[in-house]
């Protein structure tokens, strides 16, 4: 039997393995192998290699399949996660709601128990109260003005006469100044001095903005007085200045003492001072004098709810008002006193001298 080449042999072996050979050929192949041991070895080697090849191919195939399936499985798992969470939520949402409401209740009840809300309310009410104060200043002043007005209007009825506003002389011959709000709507005005003498007065001029009214005593019983003991101080006075006033919060003249507390009046009003003197309805129109007996202002009102916050119209405003009066309206020219007789006198003496020039203003 002729020796085959390796290629020819392997071709033959492949066919043998695959069973493509006829029985005789198979037999022949086996015989050939037996006869040529080299080729027999080759056959064993070859077939094991082919086996390896086949196994490897299957292995690879399985591996790809496996990883594909694994991937599919795991991605499915990931997708499944969502329903788990949803299911968990469905199961636990009642508990969650209860827990949340308990948390809310406990938070607010703790806040309530620790007084957080009362503190809060106090703080806010303090704040709004403060604001209301600011807003109410004007109202208070107005209220006071109204009260004073009513009081004076009230003089129509006999018993209310024991109230009244105050006025004081600016000249020795019968010019008297008081607040505008005192005499608004008046039919007639009467002035009464501390001795009880009453005079009829005419309204010469009013300035509503400055709250000043100039009256003139038009009464036959009135005699020209002595020279005014006080002068009018045109310059602004300093803070802390010792001041006093005399007014008629009741029928008797009442002395009040204090100090100048601010250069401006209510809400920064520059024509007025803030003064710290106990004043009451009826003090309106009273003179504010400094320690040397200079008139520095006219009491006009006070702020309710704040201790010692009264307001006085500056003398400067009074003088401006006097200058504004048309000469036609004047009975006589206004000559302000320029000699101060009070200087260096003790306060009691000052008051005695001044008293004659201060009137209780009764408005009918």
């Amino acid at each position: 039997m002729k020796v085959l080449s390796q290629q020819e042999f392997i071709e033959w072996a492949d066919r043998y393995q695959r069973g493509e050979l006829s029985p005789e050929d198979s037999h022949q192949f086996e015989e050939y192998c037996a006869a040529t041991p080299a080729h027999a070895d080759l056959y064993v080697q070859h077939s094991s290699f082919v086996n390896d090849l086949k196994r490897t191919a299957n292995h690879i195939e399985f591996k790809t399949k496996l990883s594909k399936n694994a991937k599919a499985y795991h991605s499915q798992q990931v997708v499944k996660k969502q329903p788990i969470i949803v299911a968990l939520w469905d199961k636990l949402k009642l508990n969650a709601a209860v827990a949340a409401s308990i948390a809310i209740v406990s938070v607010f009840s703790t806040l309530w128990l620790t007084g957080y809300y009362s503190n809060l309310r106090k703080a806010t009410s303090d704040y709004s109260a403060l604001r209301r104060d600011m807003n109410s200043v004007k109202r208070n002043v107005n209220a006071q003005n109204v009260a004073i007005k009513n009081m004076n209007n009230g003089t129509d009825s006999k018993e209310t006469i024991h109230f009244g506003a105050t006025g004081f002389s600016i000249t020795k011959d019968g010019y008297v100044v008081t607040n505008y709000h005192v005499i608004t709507g008046a039919d007639s005005v009467h002035l009464q001095n501390h001795k009880g003498e009453s005079y009829k007065a005419d309204i010469i001029y009013t300035n509503e903005e400055k709250d000043i009214a100039i009256l003139y005593i038009n009464d036959s019983t009135f005699k020209s007085q002595k020279a005014l003991p006080y002068t009018f101080k045109k310059k602004n006075s300093d803070l802390g200045e010792d001041i006093y006033t005399i007014g008629f919060p009741r029928d008797e003249a009442v002395y009040g003492q204090g100090y100048l507390s601010s250069e401006t009046g209510y809400a920064g009003d520059t024509v007025a001072y803030q003064i710290s003197i106990p004043v009451n309805p009826g003090n309106s129109g009273g003179p504010v004098l400094d320690k040397d007996g200079n008139v520095i202002g006219i009491i006009s009102g006070k702020q309710k709810g704040i201790d010692g916050a009264a307001f006085a119209i500056k003398t400067e405003a009074l003088l401006e008002t006097l200058n504004d009066i048309p000469t036609d309206s004047l009975r006589k020219s206004v000559i302000l006193g320029n000699r101060n007789l009070l200087n260096n006198l003790p306060r009691t003496e000052q008051v005695k001298k001044i008293q004659d020039f201060i009137y209780l203003v009764k408005v009918y």
Binding site: I10, L53, T56, N58, H59, Y73, H74
Partner: protein
């Protein structure tokens, strides 16, 4: 071991042998979750668990491909033992910061010993070698050999598919390819 479970195991093994997709699905559905839990509980991540289980199934596949394979326990137990062994190996192989005793010894360990693991690794290495050689072969050699030896196609079919003028040419080509593959495989 209930009869039913046993049947399922046998079915799966049979399916795996024939490369059945549903069997692979089944093996994942039934046996993957506890193994994932075991690995995650022992310093593993979900991804590592997936890799380990895939490797485990490959071990099973290789075992099944051996004609003398016989399942000596529940499939579940076997897979668990294999995964444990593989995971242990990975833990110790890595930074070795974890103690082997982290996973307590269990009697199932006899099902898949270190020796088995080594054997499996040698096999895998062999497969990898062959695969590498095949990939290194390039076309059309790879396809010709695949068609002939694995898909059992006749030389005439191959001749037609690859456009050879006659079967002798195809045969010569196939032989050359085979020789090259052998050379590459044995060289390594």
């Amino acid at each position: 071991m209930s009869k039913e479970n046993n049947d399922i195991d046998l079915l799966i093994i049979h399916g795996i042998r024939s490369g059945d997709n549903t069997s692979i699905d089944q093996i994942y559905r039934l046996y993957y979750p506890p193994i994932e839990r075991m690995i995650i509980n022992n310093h593993g991540s979900r991804e590592e668990a997936q890799d380990i289980f895939q490797e485990t199934v490959m071990v099973l596949y290789n075992k099944i491909c051996q004609t003398d394979f016989k399942l000596s326990s529940k499939l579940q137990t076997f897979l668990y033992a294999v995964s444990r062994r593989l995971w242990l190996k990975q833990l110790t192989r890595g930074t070795s910061k974890y103690n082997v005793e982290l996973i307590e010894e269990q009697h199932e360990d006899v099902l898949f010993t270190d020796g088995d693991l080594d054997e499996h690794e040698v096999k895998e290495e062999n497969f990898a070698l062959m695969e590498e050689a095949l990939n290194g072969l390039g076309e059309p050699c790879k396809s010709i050999l695949h068609d002939f030896y694995i898909d059992n196609k006749s030389m005439t079919e191959i001749c037609e598919k690859f456009g050879y003028t006659n079967t002798d040419n195809a045969k010569t080509q196939k032989y050359k390819c085979l020789q090259r593959l052998k050379k590459m495989f044995f060289k390594k």
